[in-house]
Every structure is written in structure tokens, then in C-alpha cells.
């Protein structure tokens, strides 16, 4: 054995003559009837099994993509926005508590604690949703460390404030700087990454390349089935080869199921994008912008003239646009949102006027007073409602989009195997006649 192996020529040399012989022999098959039948059988089985396999894979890819979009990409975007808005709100709340003087009002402390809890929970959720070792994962890690440092600084500020040490204000300024200059940009980067993942997610869910491949295979299989039945009815005494007709029927059912399920999936995906993802993204951006406005107002007052954030405020205001076409499906909220934002802007205008005319105490009183707090609270509440409403719409649509795809990924190949068995039976019966 060993000697025989050793004496063999190199593998490359050994392969070419048989491959020529194989091609030659296969090509020779077409010159006689049993050979032709063997060729037809091979072609049908290959195409049939391939179609079944690809149908299963396409359904699986689309199902996985849809699930990923609904269970990961979209929630990640929402979590990223929550982290961002919770951080921005914590910053604003801390600055307002500081503006108030004295011990921080209990309501503001509560709100700050809620904000940090919200940011922490959202970050934990986001950590489960980001791919390992991605930019998003790094942003999540940086945010976790940063939030711990931030809350430590704010806690020190509170402890100092509790002892009536002005140093508390400096700790708060350091915390705010960390929040605004490091944490919020990181959260915004995460939000952007998540938004990008959503559009990639839609592409993955649509599985267009798999569908095209499946379409090509189906056409080829259809042509092959049709042609082989014509051939058989010409060359045999039977008009119909019953097993082959049954196989054709099964394939037709398979293709029909694919068509119906994917048409359904695409309709719902489009709806999910239009009614869910697009408005949620737009609303999330709006929430970030209005929170920026409120933070700028508080920080301008807290800086007491040393830092004017009004320009930043105006930039944020300029970017707020409630007639955004993406908000078409959130129409019933946009009018309320617009009105409430206008109401807040009016109050902000009064705050600015008071501050500019030298009535700093009046400006602070108005900015953190009942009226401003309620007006702004109403605005963010409406935004929250609108986002929740659109999130629900997205979840519905994405759930419908995934309908039947999992079943298809199992039944597709089974159906194809059954059809192939029928084709084998049908043609083997004819082949037997030549034995």
C-alpha cells in the first residue's frame, strides 16, 4: 500500500485525464435515450434541491434580518437615544437645582436620579444589543465608565452643597463639562451608529440578493420541468408523467409561498420604516434638540454671564422642524408639539429679556418656575408619547413582516425534497424500460 502510494504521480497530474474523460462521457450521454433521461434527472434533482436549499436560506436570512431589525437594531437606536436624552436631562436638572440655591429641591433631585437610572438601564440594554468589538460596543463601554465618574462628581457637588461650601458649584461645573463634552458626544455617536445599523438592518431583512438567486433558480427549474415533461410526452406513450406533474405542482406551491410571504414581508418592512423607524428617529432627534435648548438656557443662567449658550440655543431651535416629512405618520402629535414648543420659546424669550435687563433673579425664578417647568414638561411628555406610539407601530409592522418566514425556512427545503423524490420516481420508471 505504502509503496503504491509513494509511486503515484503528483495529484495535479493525476486529475486532468479523468476530468476530460468525465466530460466526454457525460457529453456522450445525450446521444442515446437512457442517457438523455439520466441527464434530465440529474438536472432536475440538482436544480430542485438547490431551489429548496436557497428558498430555505432566503427565508432564514430574511427572518433573521427582520428579527435582528426588530429585536436589536431598532431597540438599540431607542436605547442610544434614551442614554443621550437622559444624560442631557440630568445635566439640565443638575444645573437647575444649582440655580435654585439652597438645598436642591426634592423634585429636581428625584428627576436627576431618575435620569441617571434611565441612562444606566438603557446602557445595560444597549450593551446586550451591540455587536462585540464594534465602535458601538466601545462607545457603550466608554459611556459606562464616564457615567460612573459623572455621578461621582455630582455626588461630591451635593455633599459640598450640603455643607454650604461654594466648592460644590465647581464640582458641578466639572461634572457638567464631563457630561457635555465627553458623555453626550459619545451617546450621540452611539445614536448615529444605531441609526446606520437600522438602514443596514432593513437591507439585511429584505435579503434582496438571496431573492434574486432564488428567482433565477426558480425560473431555471421551471423551464427544466416544463421542457422535460414535453420531452417525455413526445418520447413516451404517456401524455403526462404523473409524478413529474405532482413535483411541478409542489414547486409551484413553494414558489407561490415564497412570493406571498416575501410580498407580505416587504410591504410590512416598508410600513415599519415609514410608520416606525423614520418617525421614531425624527422624534428622537427632536427630543435631543429641545433638551439641548433647555440645558443651554439653564447653563447660561448658571454661568452668570461668563458663558453665553444662547447661540447654541438658537442653533438647536433652528434645527427643530415639526413639518418634517418623516413625521407624516405622527401627524396627530405634531400640532400639539408645535404649540407646546412655541409656548416654551415664549417663556425662554421672557427669561432672556429679564436676564438681559439685569433682573437675574427674576430670570432664574421664571426659568425654573412652575410655568416654565410645566410647559417644558408637557412638551417632553408629548414627545415621549409620540415616540412610544411610533415604537408600537414599528413593533406591529415588524412582527407582521416576519410572519411565516421561519416556517418557510423549514418547509421550503422539505417541499423541495418531496418534489425531487417525485421527479426521481417519475423518471426512474421510464429509465427502467431500458433495462
Amino acid at each position: 500500500m505504502t509503496t503504491a502510494l509513494a509511486q503515484r504521480p503528483p495529484a495535479t497530474a493525476a486529475y486532468s485525464p479523468p476530468s476530460y474523460g468525465l466530460v466526454d462521457r457525460v457529453a456522450g450521454l445525450r446521444h442515446h435515450s437512457p442517457g438523455r433521461l439520466q441527464l434530465i434527472l440529474t438536472t432536475l434533482l440538482t436544480l430542485g434541491l438547490l431551489t429548496g436549499l436557497v428558498a430555505g436560506l432566503t427565508a432564514h436570512s430574511a427572518s433573521a434580518g427582520t428579527a435582528d431589525l426588530g429585536n436589536r437594531a431598532q431597540p438599540l437606536m431607542v436605547e442610544a437615544e434614551t442614554v443621550y436624552s437622559a444624560l442631557a436631562d440630568a445635566d439640565t436638572t443638575a444645573a437647575q437645582a444649582f440655580l435654585a440655591g439652597g438645598l436642591e429641591p426634592a423634585a429636581l433631585t428625584q428627576r436627576y436620579d431618575d435620569d441617571l437610572a434611565r441612562a444606566g438601564t438603557a446602557l445595560t440594554n444597549a450593551a446586550r444589543l451591540v455587536p462585540d468589538d464594534s465602535d458601538a460596543a466601545r462607545a457603550v463601554a466608554a459611556l459606562s465608565t464616564g457615567i460612573a465618574r459623572y455621578s461621582a462628581l455630582v455626588a461630591t457637588a451635593r455633599a459640598n452643597n450640603r455643607q454650604v461650601l461654594p466648592l460644590g458649584a465647581s464640582y458641578l461645573a466639572a461634572a457638567s463639562q464631563l457630561n457635555r463634552e465627553t458623555l453626550q458626544p459619545k451617546a450621540q455617536a452611539l445614536f448615529r451608529l444605531a441609526t446606520d445599523e437600522i438602514s443596514a438592518g432593513y437591507d439585511a431583512a429584505r435579503s434582496s440578493w438571496w431573492l434574486i438567486l432564488l428567482l433565477v433558480l426558480s425560473v431555471a427549474l421551471g423551464v427544466a420541468l416544463f421542457w422535460s415533461q414535453i420531452y417525455l410526452s413526445r418520447t413516451t406513450h404517456r401524455t403526462f408523467n404523473v409524478p413529474l406533474v405532482a413535483a411541478t405542482g409542489l414547486f409551484a406551491v413553494l414558489i407561490l409561498a415564497v412570493g406571498v410571504l416575501f410580498a407580505n414581508q416587504r410591504t410590512h418592512l416598508d410600513s415599519a420604516a415609514q410608520k416606525g423607524s423614520a418617525p421614531v428617529t425624527a422624534l428622537a432627534q427632536l427630543r435631543i434638540l429641545v433638551l439641548t435648548e433647555r440645558a443651554d438656557e439653564a447653563l447660561t443662567l448658571a454661568a452668570h454671564g461668563s458663558a453665553d449658550k444662547e447661540e447654541d440655543f438658537e442653533r438647536a431651535s433652528g434645527a427643530i422642524y415639526f413639518d418634517d416629512p418623516r413625521l407624516a405618520y405622527a401627524e396627530r402629535f405634531t400640532t400639539t408639539l408645535k404649540d407646546r414648543h412655541e409656548a416654551y420659546l415664549t417663556i425662554h424669550g421672557q427669561v432672556r429679556k429679564l436676564d438681559k435687563s439685569g433682573d437675574y433673579d427674576g430670570a432664574v425664578a421664571l426659568a425654573i418656575g412652575e410655568q416654565a417647568t410645566t410647559t417644558f414638561g408637557d412638551l417632553t411628555t408629548t414627545l415621549d408619547q409620540a415616540i412610544d406610539n411610533r415604537k408600537a407601530a414599528f413593533t406591529d409592522e415588524i412582527g407582521d413582516a416576519g410572519d411565516g418566514l421561519d416556517l418557510l425556512s423549514v418547509l421550503g427545503p422539505l417541499l423541495a425534497i418531496a418534489a425531487c423524490v417525485l421527479a426521481l420516481l417519475g423518471i426512474r420508471a421510464r429509465l427502467e424500460e431500458y433495462r
Partner: protein, 327 residues
């Protein structure tokens, strides 16, 4: 004292900042060569020898000498027309530029949210003289490196912000007569063995960007590393977070810090003289004369002593107010 002052003020006062540790050594906002808002030295940047602003004018200038008051003070509410005081009166409030984190001089009282201290009371004294009401005061918090510029730009009527009157600044703004005498010291950890700033070679010492204190650190022979922060409050935060080993600025400001941190102590002798004056625009000298008259009255009727007692009484008996010098 005077003899020691001359060389020190001439060369160092620029660096240490007229503001009691916090001389504004940043360039004018309209100077082409440098950005006005320059937080130039980033944290941790070592700047040995960055303090060479010994301009010719510095040599023959007495930074303590201000404009002589023009007679008696007018009655509150009856400012002579055409003067800056009349303008302030018409506006309804005096705009005071100061900081909000210099405990004892101008810091935000966490209980009330109001900015208060020795410097703020100087402003309140002027408001009292103009309006008969010390509360007609608008506080505008400015960065240490913006003190000269905010006067130049006319954003404030007067700056009282632990600001050292020095000759370099006299070229851009007028100063009132001296209302407080401070000098630079250094604050370290309670268990530090250092006896003075010379023992801190290679250590990180924090000061506010744009303060003369910052520049002075660069002139110390043992070459400590000067670290700039936006304000002295930020310096204390950095000190407590172990980012820096020490803080160096006017003794009075350091005392305010040590009062907030029992684990810190102020060491060494004053190694600079920092006479505090209020900065006022050169555009209306009558206002500087008016402020000097207000200060003169405060020195005489005990207001200055009462204000000292109120804010700085804990450091010992009330000294004589700095004597006014006029040119």
C-alpha cells in the same frame, strides 16, 4: 514693604495678576497677536519663563496711584449730568464684573444662590453711592482672563475680582485706589513637608488661566509645573481629585479654599505683593474719581473695616485699610 514692592511689582505683578492672585495676564481682546479668550496654557502645560511681559511702561509706574477724587460725593440719585454715574443711574443698575467661586471675595452662597463677598460688597458700596440702594447691582461673572477685556469692551462698569493693579494693566484700564493688599502663597496637602513654593520643584501647581498667579509659578527657581484651570474653584476640584499637588495664588483666595478643605494648608511667606484695585474704563475718568471718593469715605466712616470684619475677620484683627495714593 514699599522697597520690596518696587522690583516685585515691576517684574512679577504682571504675572501674578492684579486680582489678588489673579492678575489678568491675558492679552487684550483687540490685540492681533493673540486670541482674547485664550485659555492658552492647557492643563498640565509647563511654562517656565512664560512670564516675560516686562514692558517699558512697567518701570516707572506706581500701580497704586489712582486718580484723585473730585471733591465731595454727590447725593445718591443726584449724579452730575453728562457723567458716567448719571448714565449708570439712568440705566437703573451698576454692572459689576466678578467671579462666583472665590470664597470670601466673590462666591455663590449655596444657601441663597446669590454671589457675595468682599469684592461684591465693594460693588454694593458704589451702587449705594449712586442709587442709595446697594441692591441695584447686576453681577456679571467673568473669567479671570476676561477681566481687562470686559472693561475694554464696555460689558461691565467696574471689575472687582481680586484683581491686582499693575502697570501692564494700567495701560489698558484705570484702577481705583487700592482696597486690599494681598500676596501670593501656596496651598498644599495637610501632610506635605514643603515649607514654601520652592520646595515644590517638579510638582504640579494649579492656578487660574490668565491670572498673574499662573505666570508667577513659572518664575519659581525650583521649576514646579504650572497647571492652568478656568477658575480657582476648578483648581480646588483638581487638587481634591489628586490631579495637582498644590495651588498657588493670593493668600486670601487660598484662605477661602483652606476653609472649604480641612485637609489642605497654606504654607510659606507671601512671595509677591498683590494690591487689589477695581478696574474701570479709561473712557470716563470721572467714574474712577467717583469710585475713589466712595472708597475714601469707606476708609473713614468704618465701612471698609466692617466689610473686612464681615468676610475676613476670622483671619485676625482688622488691619488699617490700605492708604490711598493719587497721581
Amino acid at each position: 514693604m514699599r522697597t520690596r514692592l518696587a522690583p516685585i511689582v515691576a517684574t512679577l505683578a504682571l504675572l501674578l495678576g492684579a486680582a489678588g492672585c489673579a492678575g489678568d495676564s491675558s492679552p487684550r481682546y483687540d490685540e492681533v497677536t493673540a486670541a482674547p479668550t485664550g485659555r492658552q496654557p492647557g492643563p498640565g502645560s509647563a511654562t517656565p519663563g512664560s512670564s516675560t511681559p516686562a514692558k517699558p511702561a512697567v518701570e516707572n509706574c506706581n500701580p497704586r496711584a489712582s486718580l484723585r477724587p473730585a471733591g465731595a460725593l454727590p447725593q445718591p440719585g443726584k449724579m452730575p449730568s453728562g457723567t458716567w454715574m448719571a448714565k449708570v443711574h439712568a440705566r437703573g443698575r451698576l454692572v459689576l464684573g466678578t467671579s462666583q467661586d472665590t470664597l470670601l471675595f466673590s462666591s455663590r452662597n449655596p444657601l441663597t444662590g446669590k454671589v457675595e463677598g468682599f469684592d461684591v460688597d465693594m460693588g454694593r458700596m458704589i451702587a449705594q453711592a449712586i442709587f442709595g440702594d446697594p441692591d441695584r447691582l447686576q453681577i456679571k461673572v467673568i473669567g479671570y482672563n476676561e477681566r481687562v477685556n470686559s472693561v475694554l469692551k464696555g460689558e461691565v462698569d467696574v471689575v472687582a475680582d481680586t484683581m491686582t493693579a499693575n502697570c501692564a494693566r494700567w495701560k489698558d484700564v484705570d484702577f481705583s485706589s487700592i482696597y486690599y493688599e494681598a500676596g501670593q502663597k501656596v496651598l498644599v496637602n495637610r501632610d506635605s513637608t514643603a515649607k514654601g513654593i520652592e520646595d515644590l520643584g517638579g510638582k504640579k501647581i494649579c492656578a487660574a488661566a490668565g491670572s498673574t498667579s499662573y505666570d508667577n509659578i513659572g518664575t519659581v527657581k525650583s521649576k514646579p509645573i504650572a497647571v492652568a484651570k478656568a477658575s480657582f474653584g476648578d483648581c480646588l476640584v483638581a487638587f481634591q481629585q489628586n490631579e495637582v499637588d498644590a495651588i498657588s495664588t493670593d493668600d486670601t483666595i487660598l484662605a477661602g479654599m483652606a476653609a472649604q478643605d480641612p485637609y489642605a494648608k497654606v504654607i510659606g511667606e507671601r512671595y509677591t505683593e498683590e494690591p487689589y484695585g477695581m478696574a474701570i474704563s479709561k473712557g470716563h475718568p470721572e467714574f474712577t474719581r467717583f469710585v475713589n471718593a466712595v472708597l475714601e469715605k469707606a476708609r473713614q466712616d468704618g465701612t471698609w473695616a466692617r466689610t473686612y470684619e464681615k468676610w475676613l475677620g476670622r483671619f485676625g484683627p482688622v488691619p488699617q485699610p490700605p492708604g490711598a495714593q493719587y497721581r
